[in-house]
Structures are given as C-alpha cells and as structure tokens.
C-alpha cells in the first residue's frame, strides 16, 4: 500500500473554535511540506466546519478534509478516533500531526493502535530526511535529560504529537485559498459508551501565560506569598505575565495556573525571567524554548544559568525591584 504524499494536521476544535496549537502545527507543517514535496492538509471533524476554513487556509493548509456530524460538536474519543482512522484508511497520508493537548493525547494513541502506525509523543523538533523519505521526530526523554530522535521506517502514517507553544505560528496571508473535500463518515454504528455531562473552563482570564511576550517567574527563592508582589511588579512593568516553579505552587504561594514546567504549562515567550528558580530539569522542560532567558539567582552554580542567555548573580529581592524601577524609568 503506497501512502499518499500528504501531511495532515488534526484541526482540533471544540464548539467551532480551533485550538491555537493547530496554527502552530500548520506553520511547522509548511516547512515539512516544502522539504518533502508533500501536500499540507487539515483534517477537520466538527459539527459545522465552514467558518473555520479560512483560518486553516491562511496558515498554509492546501486542502481541508471536512467531516461534519452533530456528534462532533465536542470531543468524544470513540467518535473522533473513528472519523480520523477511517479517513487515514481511505487516504493513506504519510504524516499526521496532532497537538499534545488533552484531546490530542487521547486521540493520537487510539488512532495509532487502530492501525499499526508509529506515534511519537511531545516532539520538540520535526524534520524531513529527504534521502530516506522519513520524518525525523526529536523529543526529550527522561524528563529532558536526554534528547532522542525517533523514526518510523516501515509503518504509515508517521504520527507525532506536539505541545502548544513549541512551534511558532505564522500566517501565510489573510486570504489564502485551497480545496475542501467533504467527507461523510457514518457514526451510527459507534456505540455511545461515554457521555460528557459537564465541561468547566476554570481559567477564564487569569493568567495568559501562553500568549504572553514577557514572563517573569518566581521560585522558592521568592521566599513567601507576599513577596510575589516583587515578581508581579516586574511582570507589570514589562507588560507580561507571572509564572512560577512547582515548589512555590506546592507551598501554596500561588495558584497552579501559573506553574511552568513538565507538569505545568509549556511557554515560549520573547523573554523569560527566572527569579529564584534553581532550574530543575522539570522546570526547564516548560520554558527552554523561550527566545531569551534571563536568570536571577544568588547561587552562581544554579543549573538555571546553563540555559540562560543572561545571568544575574545576586539577591532577587534587590535585583528585581531595581529592574522594575529602571524599566519604569525607561517607559516614562
């Protein structure tokens, strides 16, 4: 069975709203498409896809597989895996990319075992080996202590999940066009074994770490919940958001919505300022891909300095307020 020369991006949506990671995957997918000569496509299962098409084209999809069914309004693993797998069986794409979201991390492994496909989780780098015609999927393992490049030589499709904020999103233009392929998939035979009875969004407009250009994060070195004001002060001056290490979240100094790292959020701001954070591998896993990292720590041997572009050795309680003061002076 020869695979169709297509790269698919799973266009994750709920209630007609596409997830941000979809645009990041399309942006990265364009590079893979350019290198491989494959066609970049979006797979859009939803209750009504039309309003989402333009955005998908704008980010580089040349073709959209549009699957509509009222049962696809919100995510349900049995329905979505049936849809995506049926499509894969029919069209044989070479590569399928998913966001490593709650949804992607249920869907992708299910689809992988429905067929006999390779799946690599949480890739931080994707590349195409033109000689062997395979996808090179690089990811951290052992909590980030090592990196591994995974390949899938003999099975198709080659599938990866990627966390949000690992790749940058870049629109091609405001008015791209492409092909829409309408696909009907019969879901009537899928037994409803699970039903969502409630869905709660907790993080309305608390901390938008994912969208922030500047993030100032505090660690155990901040010393107390009150002292987080110092961190907030700098974040405010920079017009950014407040992040935190797990040590401070566990101590109850700040809510877990602020936590950055392996078990918190992955962020990719322009500038990340780590204050009183030692730089444990689990913390680094969430912020290492920031464009520029500034570390403020009194211990010159703290591992955070290994990943920093700028390191300031000293007491954060003196340095951070000074930083805030000088920024404010600059701005006024």
């Amino acid at each position: 069975m020869s695979a169709k020369k297509e790269i698919w991006v799973f266009a994750e949506q709920e209630n007609g709203k596409l997830a941000g990671v979809v645009f990041e995957l399309l942006s990265e997918g364009r590079k893979l498409a350019a290198k491989s000569g494959y066609t970049l496509c979006a797979v859009l299962p939803s209750a009504g896809g039309k309003p989402m098409h333009q955005e998908l084209f704008n980010y580089g999809a040349k073709k959209i597989y549009n699957v509509e069914d009222p049962r696809l309004q919100t995510y349900q693993n049995d329905y979505f895996s049936k849809v995506v797998y049926s499509l894969i069986e029919k069209e044989n794409p070479e590569i399928v990319l998913y966001g490593a979201s709650t949804i992607g991390r249920s869907l992708a492994p299910t689809v992988a075992v429905m067929g006999w496909a390779g799946l690599t989780a949480d890739c931080t780098e994707l590349d195409f080996d033109t000689e062997r015609q395979i996808l090179l999927q690089t990811r951290p393992a052992f909590g980030g202590n090592i990196m591994a490049t995974i390949i899938c030589p003999d099975h198709r499709p080659q599938m990866s999940t990627v966390r949000s904020n690992v790749f940058k999103k870049e629109r091609v233009s405001e008015n791209e066009t492409g092909e829409v392929v309408e696909v009907k998939i019969d879901l009537s035979g899928v037994k409803e074994r699970m039903k969502r009875v409630e869905s709660v969004v907790e993080e309305v407009n608390t901390v938008d770490l994912k969208a922030a250009d500047y993030i100032v994060s505090g660690g155990r070195g901040v010393g107390s919940p009150e002292n987080f004001k110092v961190i907030e002060g700098l974040a405010g001056a920079l017009g950014g958001a407040v992040g935190a290490s797990r040590a401070t979240v566990d101590a109850g100094w700040i809510s877990h919505h602020h936590q950055v790292g392996q078990t918190g959020k992955t962020v990719c701001p322009l500038v990340y300022v780590a204050c009183g954070i030692s730089g444990a591998i689990q913390h680094l896993a969430g912020m290492q891909s920031a464009d520029l990292i500034i570390a403020i720590n009194k211990d010159p041997d703290a591992p955070i300095f290994d990943v920093a572009d700028f390191g300031l050795i000293g007491d954060l309680h003196k340095i951070v307020p000074e930083f805030t003061k000088q920024i404010n002076a600059l701005r006024s």
Binding site: N77, D78, S81, T102, R105, S106, P109, T110, A112, V113, W116, A117, G118, L119, T120, A121, D122, L136, A141, F142, G143, N145, I146, M147, A148, T149, I150, I151, C152, P153, R193, M194, K195, R196, V197, E198, S199, V200, V201, V271, A280, I281, Q288, D291, L292, P300, D306, V307, A308, D309, F310, G311, L312, G314, I319, E322, F323, Q326, I327, L330
Partner: protein, 261 residues
C-alpha cells in the same frame, strides 16, 4: 469490583544523565521506582476498593526485576500481581507494549471492571500505553482522571483538561489514566509488607500469552530510536554580577541592543 492497575518500573529520571562524549545513558546506580503517576492509579484503586470491595490486580511489563515494583504495590494493598516478562518482549515501543499488556488482560480469570494507568511514565513521558490498551481491549477510555465514582452502569469521572475540567459518565468496563492531583499513595502496612515479600508472582511470557510474534518486541514496534544525544547548551551566555543597579543597567542596555525591550 475487579480493578487492574498497570504499573511501570522506571529509573528515577532526575538521576539519569547522558555522557556528552559517548551519548550513552548513565543509568548505573540510578534507583528504580514505581512510576510516580502509577502510584496515583494504585491509590485510586485502593480507595474504590475501600468503598465498594473487590479485588485489585497489579500488572507490570518489564524485565525480571520489575517484580520488585509489583511487590511494592502489594505492600501498599494490592491483592494480586502478575509480571509480563520475556526477552521476546524487549525493545517494545508503546504500540507493541499496548498489544502485549492487552493479551495479559484477556487472560485474566475474572472479568475486569476498571483498568487504571498513571497519566504517563516519567522515563518516556508518552502517555500512549493507556489509550492503546483501552482500544485493543475494547473498552472506553478517559484520560487525565482526577476522580472516579461508581455509578449504576459504570463510572462518573472528572477529567482534568487544558483549561479546567470535564465530567464524564462512562460505562463499564472502562479504562482511565490518572493524574497526580487525584490523591497521594497511602503508606504500606507492615503486615502487607511481610506478605508481599512472600507473595507468589506469576510470570507470563510468550508461552503463556501466545502473541502474534510479528507484533511484539522490537520487530513489532513501528517506531525506532534513530539516535540519542545530550540537550544543547547555550554557548553565548553572559553572566553579570556586582551591584544590582549596575547589573540591571547593563542588562537593559543589552536587551535594547537585541531589540527585545
């Protein structure tokens, strides 16, 4: 109620490093532990059993020494343990692992009501085996479960999402992956510890499980490791020290030079 908890023995990943010259893992002397998230799955099972009675079977696939992890699970209160181990299973990726574990589930004498996994393993961090087994075994799957209550026909499960949570009603048998926030594993009791030492732990290999040999181990695995390497380190870093006001002044100057301020 029959609950199966799938656990993995992992190296304490904080302590695994890579030799920057040879690109080999330094695993010598690194202690093995039960994957921390699997402890939450085990505790969820124990709490359900406290309330509703039943039996907890722990299953682990791995080398012979993974038996140790199973004994630990017994000391915390699991009733029975099974080790899936065979040289033929070695080198399995998540696909082949899911396939192999499913064969063991199918071989269990009593019908299973609930299969629990940790949300992911800290060595590979893939979070793929739970959903894989659920599909092969033919049961519905809810990932990232924070709580689970028994209902008339199955379970009511709270699932942690990227922005909040969902509540699901799922029929039984079902499979869940469990998050850290769910609970904390209770201490082992002395009595159970003693019993765990002596417990008989059957080992199921290819002979017992009768797999399709093309679907196990390295050859059954669609993904292969192409190479491993040390994460890159930053080379052009600047370390400043001295008076806060001077350091910050220099920093701001440099940031403006780089046009990020």
């Amino acid at each position: 109620m029959n609950i199966v908890v799938c656990i993995k023995q992992v190296p304490d990943s904080d302590k695994v490093t890579i030799d920057r010259e040879t690109n080999r893992l330094n695993r010598a002397g690194v202690p093995s532990i039960i994957n921390p998230f699997d402890e939450n799955a085990l505790e969820m099972a124990l709490q359900l059993k406290d309330k509703h009675g039943g039996k907890i079977t722990v299953i682990s696939m791995g080398p012979p020494q993974a038996e140790e992890a199973l004994r630990t699970a017994l000391s915390h209160g699991a009733d029975e343990a099974i080790l899936i181990s065979d040289r033929k299973f070695g080198g399995a990726d998540t696909w082949a692992t899911s396939y192999t574990i499913t064969l063991a589930l199918k071989k269990l004498a009593d019908p299973v009501d609930l299969i629990l996994f940790g949300k992911q393993a800290i060595d590979g961090d893939t979070a793929q085996v739970g959903p894989g087994v659920a599909h092969f075994f033919g049961v519905p799957m809810i990932t990232y479960a924070k709580s689970c209550e028994v209902t008339e026909n199955g379970f009511r499960v709270q699932q942690v999402t990227d922005h909040g949570y969902n509540v699901w009603d799922v029929e039984k048998p079902a499979a869940l992956t469990v998050v850290k926030e769910a609970n904390q594993l209770r201490m082992p009791s002395l009595k159970k510890k003693m019993a765990a030492k002596k417990a008989e732990i059957p080992v199921w290999g290819a002979e017992q499980l009768q797999p399709d040999e093309t679907k196990i181990g390295l050859s059954g695995s669609p993904t292969k490791v192409n190479k491993v390497f040390a994460p890159p380190v930053k080379l052009n870093k600047e370390i400043l020290s001295g008076e806060p006001a001077d350091m910050v002044k220099e920093l701001i100057y440099k940031l403006r030079e780089k046009k990020v301020l």
